[in-house]
């Protein structure tokens, strides 16, 4: 009996999770401009309209650039903090880990306005106005945590024996890093970097406050066009593409590190 109840709740839960996403996929072929339901005829014209849409393309490109920039910075900073916290003992170590988590623990709007007013009062007077770069800075701030968490967990598990052995056998620090430390960290860096990119690619609130005039990431583009009825079919296709793409990182994580990879998004 209990088993059947559990099975029913599970089925309902999966339906609840997937039905809205399927709806977006189906609607991207809905012949009716206002998504009349159930759909009467099917068309691929929205897909070609979206493909030709310059605004969406530019926004996608901006998002990719912002994501890559933020991920690169997060990989460097996150790895540095993880090494410092795991391999050294120092005063305030716990505070450092808290500091890394803080940008993602606080509501996005708090981080957003804090960075915005800091940029306007400190950086802008130096002649560097808000633009794509300020978006990258904002995103990197909350992306550090994903790399940090993954690298820290890896360092904790693997210990220092191999590196010490390498040093004892006469390898220089650079060689030890090149042949021992880096290969050991590779999949953790990949997982952390993937999460960082996804987090940046999806971010809207911090972007709203850090983007310069004319800088539109894909989420900002979607949000700006969400309330325009005549843009609805194109927005819907973009949404459908993003849903299809979300399978990619899970597939990648499965290939690289087994089923438990990517279990923590933060």
């Amino acid at each position: 009996m209990t088993r059947w109840v559990l099975r029913a709740v599970m089925a309902f839960g999966l339906f609840f999770i997937y039905a809205p996403l399927l709806l977006v996929l189906v609607n991207s072929f809905n012949g009716d401009r206002t998504f009349g339901w159930p759909p009467h005829d099917f068309t691929t014209q929205w897909w070609s309209a979206a493909w030709r849409n310059g605004g969406a393309r530019d926004a996608l490109w901006t998002s990719v650039k912002a994501g890559l920039g933020a991920t690169a910075i997060a990989l460097v900073l996150g790895t540095m903090v993880a090494f410092a916290v795991q391999r050294f003992k120092f005063f305030g170590r716990d505070t450092v880990s808290l500091l890394v988590v803080l940008p993602i623990a606080l509501p996005g709007i708090v981080t957003g306005i804090a960075l915005d007013s800091a940029w306007r009062s400190v950086v802008a007077p130096l002649g560097l106005g808000k633009g794509l770069f300020s978006v990258i800075v904002g995103h990197a701030t909350f992306c550090v945590v994903t790399v940090y968490n993954n690298v820290l967990a890896r360092l904790r598990r693997s210990g220092v024996n191999l590196e010490e052995a390498s040093a004892d056998l006469g390898a220089s620090p650079a060689q030890t890093f090149r042949y021992i430390t880096f290969p050991m960290l590779r999949s953790a860096l990949l997982a952390g970097g993937l999460l960082a990119f996804a987090l940046s690619f999806d971010e809207i609130i911090v972007t709203t406050f850090t983007a310069g005039p004319g800088i539109q990431t894909l989420p900002i583009w979607i949000f700006n066009n969400l309330f325009r009825p005549n843009q609805a079919p194109v927005v819907n296709v973009v949404a459908a593409v993003l849903i299809v793409l979300s399978v990619l990182p899970v597939w990648l994580a499965q290939r690289v590190a087994g089923p438990e990879a990517g279990a923590s998004r933060t």
Partner: protein, 279 residues
């Protein structure tokens, strides 16, 4: 002598590793936050729109005494609590099915099925619900739609954060040995009693860990509220309106303190259960 040199070198290494991240997060980010919260004690000149940098508690007085802001705070709290409770109610049986009932093969696929939507865009999901809940939309043609409003906000936020509740509970259940359940059954405990007496108490840290996500993410949200909330206002919307249209950054900062203070109290409260180690 050699040790001294080693120690000195390690100090330099540590300084090299920490300087850039600390400059970024410790000085730039924390500094920006500090100035923001300091500005909550400033005001804006009504005529010129310039920020007046004199210490005053006016903003906080307004928030506490004016009914509008009290209601917005209570509404946001109510939504965050409702979302968290619904997530727990849905996530417990789902996670239990995944961890203890499903075969290992099915379990593998169920974990993937729960993980995958986490990678789909937040905005896309909120958008999907906007279409779903629309008048004459799919839901309307089947069972009728509640329309955009507070109820829709609760549904969509539950939808968005449900996986964040399922995953820690699932992880907690996986660590729970089957022998405990069998022992309880052998001693005559029925399913319900075993669940209340054995499973639930051991899951408390996991549930709290999940609730940190569902609670804090709901409390500060304003995008979903704009997309499916109709005229509903939550704390985030008031902050946003004061940064943008009203151009009153000090008041926005004061309002932004409200969810932060609530979260700090909440974190302090659940910390004792060991929830923070489950994150």
């Amino acid at each position: 002598m050699d040790d001294d040199q080693g120690l000195g070198r390690r100090r330099w290494q540590l300084a090299a590793l920490l300087s850039a991240p600390l400059l970024w997060l410790g000085v730039a980010y924390l500094g920006a936050l500090a100035v923001l919260f300091l500005s909550a004690f400033w005001t804006v000149n009504g005529f010129t729109g310039e920020v007046v940098r004199e210490f005053t508690l006016d903003n906080f007085r307004t928030i506490v005494t004016q009914e509008v802001y009290r209601n917005v705070t209570l509404r946001s709290l109510g939504v965050a609590i409702a979302v968290t409770v619904i997530c727990v109610v849905l996530a417990l049986p789902m996670a239990f099915y995944m961890a203890k009932v499903a075969s290992p093969r099915t379990r593998h696929w169920l974990v993937i099925a729960i993980l995958t939507p986490l990678w789909a865009s937040y905005l896309v999901k909120a958008y999907a619900w906007r279409v779903l809940l629309a008048n004459d939309g799919p839901l309307d043609s089947v069972i009728g739609t509640p329309g955009y409003g507070l109820f829709a906000v609760v549904i969509v936020l539950t939808y968005l954060w449900l996986p964040y509740m399922i995953l820690p509970i699932y992880a907690g259940l996986e660590r729970l040995p089957d022998s405990l359940l069998e022992a309880s059954a052998d001693l005559g405990g029925r399913a319900g009693r075993t669940f209340r007496g054995v499973v639930l108490p051991l899951l408390v840290p996991s549930i709290f860990a999940g609730s940190i996500f569902t609670f804090s993410l709901s409390l500060g949200d304003y995008i979903t509220v704009q997309i499916v909330g109709g005229k509903t206002q939550m704390l985030g919307n008031v902050v946003y309106a004061n940064v943008g249209a009203a151009n009153n950054l000090p008041f926005a900062a004061a309002i932004a303190c409200v969810p932060v203070v609530i979260m700090v109290i909440y974190l302090a409260a659940v910390r004792r259960s060991g929830a923070l180690e489950e994150l």
